[in-house]
Subunit: 186 residues, 6 copies
């Protein structure tokens, strides 16, 4: 497939909103594409601090592809995924990844599979960066005056960060900063 034919469907990532924020009442939430870029920046910030060392650029590449399937699947929020059969969302992502990333480059599809398998440190690290970017955005919206976002706190607090101290530190910083804001209640 031509590069153009492979790339055009990915323009959708600019359009699709991060649905969780939309449902929480944020008027103009960031796009799926913006979230992916943010995840890559988190990987770039924390990656060099990880011990033992990670291949940071490899982590950045994993971050760049991690939500590409949403160009077909859209960003299904937690409550939506909960209505699907067990494993249906993950399988749908796999199919979407196949459809979108194989024509793009076999390397791109391999990145996605590595992320899905969670077997490498880089994959587990980037999956945390994904959640940490959500936490960063959460803090950002809280600082701008959004309320009623308490539902996002437990997931952040429960993130299993022990394998990567820089991730745990960032998560703790985010929770502390959120706690200092004047809105303890939803």
């Amino acid at each position: 497939m031509s590069a153009l034919a492979a790339l055009l469907p990915l323009l959708a990532l600019d359009r699709l909103p991060r649905t969780g924020w939309l449902l929480a009442g944020i008027p103009a939430p960031e796009s799926v594409a913006a979230h992916s870029l943010g995840t890559a920046l988190v990987a770039l910030a924390l990656g060099p601090r990880v011990r033992p060392a990670l291949d940071v650029e490899h982590a950045v590449a994993l971050a760049v592809v991690h939500d590409v399937p949403e160009a077909l699947l859209t960003d299904l929020p937690r409550r939506a995924a909960a209505l699907l059969p067990a494993g249906a969302k993950a399988e749908a992502e796999r199919r979407a990844a196949e459809e979108l990333l194989r024509p793009l480059a076999p390397e791109a599809l391999a990145l996605f599979h590595e992320l899905a398998a969670r077997e490498t440190r880089a994959a587990r690290f980037v999956r945390l960066c994904d959640q940490l970017h959500l936490g960063l955005r959460w803090l950002g919206y809280l600082r701008e005056g959004a309320r009623g976002l308490a539902e996002f706190r437990p997931g952040l607090a429960a993130l299993a960060c022990d394998e990567f101290a820089p991730c745990r530190e960032l998560r703790d910083e985010i929770l502390a900063a959120a706690g200092e804001l004047e809105r303890p209640r939803a």
Copy 2:
């Protein structure tokens, strides 16, 4: 459950965009709630013209609930649903309907089930009104200058309208009007 607790989750319908239009590049597509209201208005317009007579107000009520499950599931476009197992979307809608409509009113849940079963004339009529409203919006966006919406034409042309002459007439009118616009190509 209190009426308030049952009604608050439905505010999401105001927020969720009709995803197909979003992916097609329409900058600010109508919400799922607006589409449901439009479907109800199509039912109100065509219902009295149907022979033998329908209970038009019953059809209107069916239209009002038809996309309520999307408050949890979001509006999954065709290509997203195609990635899920056969029947998974319909089952997810059923579960969402149960979760959202049972607390609202048993009558509301019954309306949804009637629609899903397609066994009554009113249900089949309203399912057509749903597609006809999509066709109306399609024509509206084309008239405003949107291009690249050719993918929506085949579904409209293939709509099985024979049971309801007013539906077929409106569908034919929409297609004719779209054909007259100056953009025959995507």
Copy 3:
């Protein structure tokens, strides 16, 4: 008039914002269409609880048409209507209803007239549902962090709900929930 010609002007309901929220600073308020759908859902939720019994589907149909005139008149906020001669807004609505609903279906226009006359229980019930949906949206925006919406409270508190206990109960629930939020002052 063809159904298409009657339906196309109603697409405007998707576009027109609920002006009161716009003026109060809500960045992307729901559309008139979304409000109408919400009013119909309130009718569906409360209607079955009303004693003596109401024809709930008839109430839902009343809700669906109640703001159709705004497709021509737009959603005039309170302060705007106050600048017009006594009765001018109601008369303008009547004219708009005539222009928009008669071609749609005589049944639709009859629904509007019933609502305007306030002589039936269903009409008075739906007029309350309209205000209750406004109250629900108000609470939703407050929960999301909006401030400066105190002007909407008195109208909700003063709603004459005595004829319909479920309406009074929902109104009281909304006020209580709003009171519990951390922003007692405008």
Copy 4:
């Protein structure tokens, strides 16, 4: 009244969209405030070219206040105003002007009255600038790909510009430029 109390209600002009464009499907039309600024710039561009000479700065000031009443009344499109009694819109504007501009500065209210009376050359000139800015925006939207805006052409073509040659010239330029675009039909 304090200047703050007089100025705060005018922030609404930033929020209120130019409704005609909204109804015509323009996704994010300019605000009433932006239109007023544009009208003032048209006055500044054409004013110096008018013979006999006008007090251009006086014309600019007239333009700045001309839509202030919409902060209360909103921007009623033509079809909405047509539903009101003869003179009701003008009277509402007068009342809104009184309520908004008197506390601002007596000079501001005097500007509005001069504009409404149409007795001075400057007032008639600025009323044309208002319509010419609408024409400029129309051309801008057409150049960006909007369609279905043919309804705005007749009013522009019929503008009585003879008293001010620069106005007629600009109007003619706009119509010619619009005619050259590839969308002759709505």
Copy 5:
């Protein structure tokens, strides 16, 4: 140059957001055009109160042109301007003013130069009105629930208003009103 060719580039002022608010998280900040109109209204409100008397309409005209250069330069926030060489932004504004305002009318360019030179009372007055409108908008956003806008307070507090008592009074009113809101911390 024709008036049309001179005016078309200024339509950009409707589109460009006031970037400071965008960066501060305001979802749909007012446009540069709306801010200019607001500045002109501040001049109209305070001008008549200034002693010795100002030519208020001349001040309004200065306000109308003050941000026209942004149609080419965009609204550079403080932190962006700080990255440019000393004087680069002012020079860029001068060049943009030359390019945009000379074809519009020599009078318009003269207004801009007067403002940039700060040598007349009217120019210094309007430069304060510009900042006061920013303060008004700041207060408006705070009243609507925005947080994290503390960075805008010091500039307002430090405004050198002594030459114009009405400016100082408005600035003090704004700060007092902001102080009364429930969000003392960023």
Copy 6:
């Protein structure tokens, strides 16, 4: 500096629009963050096809940082940069990169410097990917009905792609597809 303090300013990339499209009338253009993600995806698609081989993941990392300076500088369109002294924009980007990327990770700043120096193949390749993503977005907007975007064509046609055949091929594909659309004139 803590990772949180380094990452929070980068949330601005989600907010800042790609200004060129805003000025060209696209109602809701993609954000700078979305463009960066898109550039990274172009690098991922074309990188593996480049001969001699590139370190594709290194190219992806270069793409991820390439517009980070805009979080302070904003996205200055061509006409704005043209008003600044020669080299001022590049120097401002360098300063912004220093301020934003050094605290993030020294690796991140090194990536930026590599890109700015254009001395490596990867850097030249990614600078082309940046322009190719703009071309992709241009084609996307044209396909959706936008007009008046002819100004973007010459830059794309003149792109010096000879060093990287896959870049030239994609550029040629984009131009061919744009040529086939029905809007040959601005």
